[in-house]
């Protein structure tokens, strides 16, 4: 019988990573997939032509923003998401939501909610589909016109996440009520005076031209006030004690996602502001102006959601926002 002699051969790679990655991580060391997907990926030169539709800029042009950074790769994502880790994370979360839908369905939990709670939930949440759509558009804008793969890759994931939120809200509406509830929400978004301040704010962000201002306005100011109000003060503190736990289950993705993405948003704002006093002043000003507009826009929404308790909720939201900005190094 022939004996088989097994040996392990240790073949040392000649290089550990790509040169353009090694340049950023301090030499030829083993690099993580995130680093290899991000560092050095941004095209920087030899663009063939300027955009015919806007020849003021190159195809990728850092000067589209008033924020000045020596190295746009400082805007790293602490979550280190690249395509694989992001899709796997979101797929797991999707499975959790599916499981929640099955549970709510099998127990008939939606039918056991009062008509009043069901109606209030839809009244508040359906117009927010349009806000989420703007979040999708705005983050896509940052990817399109921003500079630096560390930022623009992450904002593309963020853009798709907003689409996911919009779809979850739609699915909630269809589960809780007839399809007409979506039209009713759109109608409120277009016609109800209490939504027009938020709508005007959202539409004003859609036409911003500076990708970093867009980032602060959408991801810090709008979402940073909207999510604590809606998923904290409204769903957790108001609906759930009144028998609306099913709504919390069916929107479970949103507060979880907000906590996760806040870490990234904070890191980007912190890094951009820390680079120079000019950046810090500019980021702070954006955070202040857009934050105040967001809070003014959400006050009537808080009234729809919480009635007389809306004002107290907004005070809490304002305090949370101010604390968050301070932690990130922005003076609002």
């Amino acid at each position: 019988m022939t004996s088989i002699d097994l040996q392990t051969r240790d073949i040392k790679p000649l290089r550990n990573t790509y040169t353009h990655v090694a340049r950023y991580i301090g030499g030829d060391k083993p690099a993580s997939r995130y680093q290899e997907a991000t560092m050095g990926a941004q095209p920087t030169q030899n663009f063939h032509y300027r955009p015919t539709w806007d020849p003021r800029y190159e195809l990728f042009d850092a000067s589209r923003s008033a924020i000045k950074l020596n190295d746009w790769y400082v805007l790293k994502d602490p979550r280190q998401y690249y395509y694989a880790t992001w899709t796997i994370a979101r797929a797991k979360q999707q499975e959790a939501v599916e499981s929640n839908y099955q549970f709510v369905d099998s127990r008939g939990l939606l039918n056991r909610m009062s008509d009043e709670i069901r109606a209030t939930a839809c009244q508040v949440l359906m117009p927010l589909r349009h806000v989420a759509w703007a979040g999708n558009m705005n983050n896509c804008f940052i990817t399109a016109y921003g500079y630096g793969t560390a930022l623009t890759a992450a904002t593309m994931f963020h853009s798709m996440d907003h689409l996911g939120v919009a779809q979850y809200l739609t699915r909630l509406g269809l589960a809780v009520d007839e399809p007409g509830v979506l039209d009713a929400g759109k109608n409120d978004w277009l016609e109800d005076p209490r939504w027009q301040v938020l709508r005007r704010l959202v539409e004003d962000t859609l036409v911003l031209q500076d990708p970093m201002e867009m980032f602060v306005a959408q991801n810090l100011a709008i979402d940073g006030n909207l999510y604590p109000l809606i998923y904290g003060a409204f769903i957790d503190d108001y609906l759930t004690p009144r028998g609306g736990t099913a709504i919390a289950m069916l929107t479970s993705f949103m507060p979880e996602w907000f906590d996760e993405t806040s870490r990234w948003v904070d890191a980007v704002c912190k890094a951009a502001a820390a680079e120079s006093p000019e950046n810090k002043a500019l980021m702070s000003q954006w955070a202040k102006v857009w934050g105040e507009r967001a809070q003014a826009a959400l006050a009537p929404v808080a009234a729809i959601a919480l009635g007389t308790e809306g004002e107290a909720a907004m005070a809490g939201v304002r305090e949370t926002y101010a604390k968050r900005c301070a932690k990130v190094g922005l003076a609002v």
């Binding site: 392990t8 051969r9 240790d10 073949i11 083993p30 993580s32 997939r33 994502d77 602490p78 979550r79 280190q80 994370a89 996760e260 870490r263």
Partner: protein
């Protein structure tokens, strides 16, 4: 004085775990061989969830280390936040 050791499959998932262990245990030595990364340490080695979370920038369940754990030596003392190997002689 004896060594404890812990060995993982050498892949992308275990990399931040290994980095966290090396950061938390100054006397630890790491050896890479084909497909395996082995960390030896005199007397005591601790794996901390918080340190791993710092490396990956996301939340981490300490039980996830078992996905890539190959083998180890030492007496185990574990809870949700840390996994410690030591010899009690």
């Amino acid at each position: 004085m004896s060594n404890v050791f812990i060995a993982f499959q050498a892949n992308e998932e275990s990399r931040p775990v290994v980095d966290a262990i090396m950061a938390d245990n100054p006397e630890a030595q790491v050896v890479y061989s084909p497909g395996l990364v082995k960390i030896d340490c005199p007397n005591r080695l601790v794996v901390r969830r918080e340190s791993i979370e710092e490396q990956i920038g996301r939340s981490f369940d300490l039980q996830q280390i078992h996905i890539n754990l190959v083998t180890l030596s030492g007496n185990i003392d574990e809870d949700d936040d840390s996994f410690t190997l030591s010899w009690k002689h």
